[in-house]
Symmetry: D2
């Protein structure tokens, strides 16, 4: 097919890469893998794609997610794990409202248990897990989807934490990836949702103990998903009383 | 086709019909239409279908939804409007957990704005509305679905409050009904969801000011949806660490 | 939850179990596993569930699927493999029309490549395969669905032919099962669809060389899916010109 | 939100606008509305969007859809009505295969009954219709979808042929538009599907007797849908035997 060749010179979309950023500072082994935090590994790649990228972390004021920052964010990526409960509810409310208004949200790996993802899903988002560094194969089940752009039929993560079904999520609007794990489990690893005017993507790979956010296929998926989740200027929605006179319809 | 003739002698499923039950007591006109409350009109019909039916209302202790009542409820129907905010959060939590564990939930009409429905959806559930008593036609768009059992291609509600799109819900797993309104709007009126192990149905018709819960087609849909939403004893799910040894898989 | 105890004395639904029935007669090893054909193994179990069951095979006149037989069939199960091309097009047309009119259809295992299933899907239904008798784990990903009734979180098939993604199907309306294979593949093994007024279920397990249609979990799923796919007497649909006068709507 | 400003200088995607092109030549009234055919009205707009556009019509050799033309087509739009049966099956096969391989397809208005659309859907695609020139309102039900980009909450078509439910299609992967008709019907007017690697969009508006393909909102939707349906270079899929040795997975 004709290649769509284009250089992104518009610095669009504007991405905020959010990270809890605790494991990297408290666990020496994690700190060696991600000396600047996982957010920097992700942000670096997204900048290379031509997006306008900033980062934000839990311990910044307002978790780095001020109203101003959010109003200038088209897509927010979210990594959290050990401190989900420390994310303040009013910040969650703010992010939630922005998603309904059109901002894209990407929950990464253990972000499945974040307040914001669970709120958007309406379920527990619980799952099975096991951490023995086993092999994962991420299979593309919807090869025509833009998030699968540039991938092979599958890619492997040599050592991963296992996440297994039952993953307590609403059935995704589109299921893009299903993971196979050496130990006998499967997992819906790439899940697309629409919530309000915003698009939500859950992407499983990534764990603080393995250098997964340096792996080209993983970074490629994240960049693809940023493009997919970027908002479009659709209709302004007006809720509430709607006083069209019947006469107008005759 | 061969008719499936069977008499329900099992008093199954067990239904709890929940009603805010305020309009009927404070608005004379509403009280004339539903002297015992809308819940009784609904409950009467469901008893006639052979289900085991109880009712519960906002002003009962624990809103009538004690842990014991919920543990004996297979399907809960929910009507609320003017007092959504007075439903206590711990009761909402309790209902929510039961849905994830398998209890069916049916949100009726203005129940779209109830705490429990919004929590299960993960969106605002806002919509347009207009109350001039216009005509509504409820069209069946999925005629093979069990909730459409026994209906014609559409049924009419002579005088209804209008609800119009955009209805801010996640796209339903199955869309069964779409309403047409005389004044120029459309609405996704019958929406099926799976949340955890529980099934959720939103059904638009019904308003305190009109005798809609006496209309045979409306009652038929509610009874059909009770059967559809009744839980099945599926697998017991175990979340958390899952220590299958790799050796077992070879 | 309260058990729904009921004895099926209505001999409903009426099931026709269709089998190509060639491997069993030409391959000695297969004949030893299924001396009467796979259809009899399946039919025996479904009769035990109280359904009215008949069988039909490729080499009968009209493949055993006369207009009369189909008019008396609520759910048709389909197993074919080596002789898909020998199924006559007018019989496929007849089955197709019955599905659109409400008959349930279950495609089993290699039935993914049957003319009728591909026609209802609108895609190639191709997949990967490997036959080395490896282990399969069938995971339940939608535990609240009636087709998962009575199962555990997964069941294993000790020796199976592998089917792997990409499975070229439309995304299922509901995905109930995902299989894990020892050799590194995953597969969407239980897929629900609505086509016209009929319900369609694809179920992967089952291969002529292994005694899979004697395995209790597999038979349980088939019986559950028969109940799920049985038609409901929904609205009679009228297509074509629809001359409602505008005046009627005012 | 930040506007994504970009000028399409890549002449991508490559669109082929196909039209039966019979009504315009045989019906004087239609010919006055579309003197060059509906395809030219559509093509003109798409060229203005920066796409590389060609047209093709039924009466050209191979209906204008040679293997070469299709191999250079990223998205094909299809309008047909009175001569669906004259489209040759081998051309339908060729288009079908291209869709599964990734080409986008847009079926317009009466294209719902075309061979290619019905084949991709797997259903009859029948509907109700009435031609009295009544008013249609096309409501956006999924305002965050790229196909709704730039629209208001709804747009009106002053005089349209009515199409009404039941529309016998598989439930769309995404439902973007629902139409309201003055005479009392509703219709799923904008329906997204994935079939193989190709994306399929059905868009209802457009009828030979009304100047609908000059209406800005209609042209905007068609251009949006072209972008949405354009293929992405996803994984090359290999079907068939897949001989991964088990050893590799340990």
């Amino acid at each position: 097919m004709a290649e769509k060749r284009s250089i992104n010179m518009t610095h669009w979309p504007r991405v905020t890469v959010w990270n809890e950023y605790r494991h990297e500072k408290t666990d020496e082994k994690v700190g060696q893998i991600y000396p600047d935090g996982m957010h920097q590994a992700i942000a670096r790649h997204l900048r290379g794609e031509g997006f306008a990228v900033r980062t934000a972390t839990l311990d910044e004021p307002e978790h780095g997610l001020t109203a101003e920052v959010l109003s200038q964010t088209d897509v927010l990526t979210w990594w959290g794990h050990m401190a989900h409960d420390q994310v303040r509810d009013e910040i969650v409310d703010r992010v939630y409202q922005r998603v309904l208004d059109g901002m894209g949200l990407m929950a990464l790996h253990s972000g499945h248990s974040s307040k914001i993802f669970r709120r958007l899903m309406g379920t527990s988002c619980d799952l099975k897990w096991r951490e023995i560094g086993e092999k994962e194969r991420v299979w593309v089940v919807e090869p025509g989807h833009p998030i699968a752009d540039g991938l092979g039929e599958y890619f492997e993560i040599p050592r991963a934490e296992m996440y297994g079904e039952r993953f307590d999520i609403p059935a995704p609007d589109t299921l893009v990836f299903v993971s196979w794990f050496q130990g006998g489990e499967v997992f819906r690893s790439g899940c697309c949702y629409q919530r309000g005017k915003g698009r939500v993507f859950y992407f499983r790979p990534g764990h603080e103990s393995y250098p997964i956010y340096y792996q080209p296929e993983v970074l490629r998926v994240i960049a693809n998903a940023v493009r997919w989740a970027a908002p479009v200027p659709g209709p302004e929605i007006i809720f509430g009383e709607h006083p069209t006179p019947l006469e107008a319809m005759r």
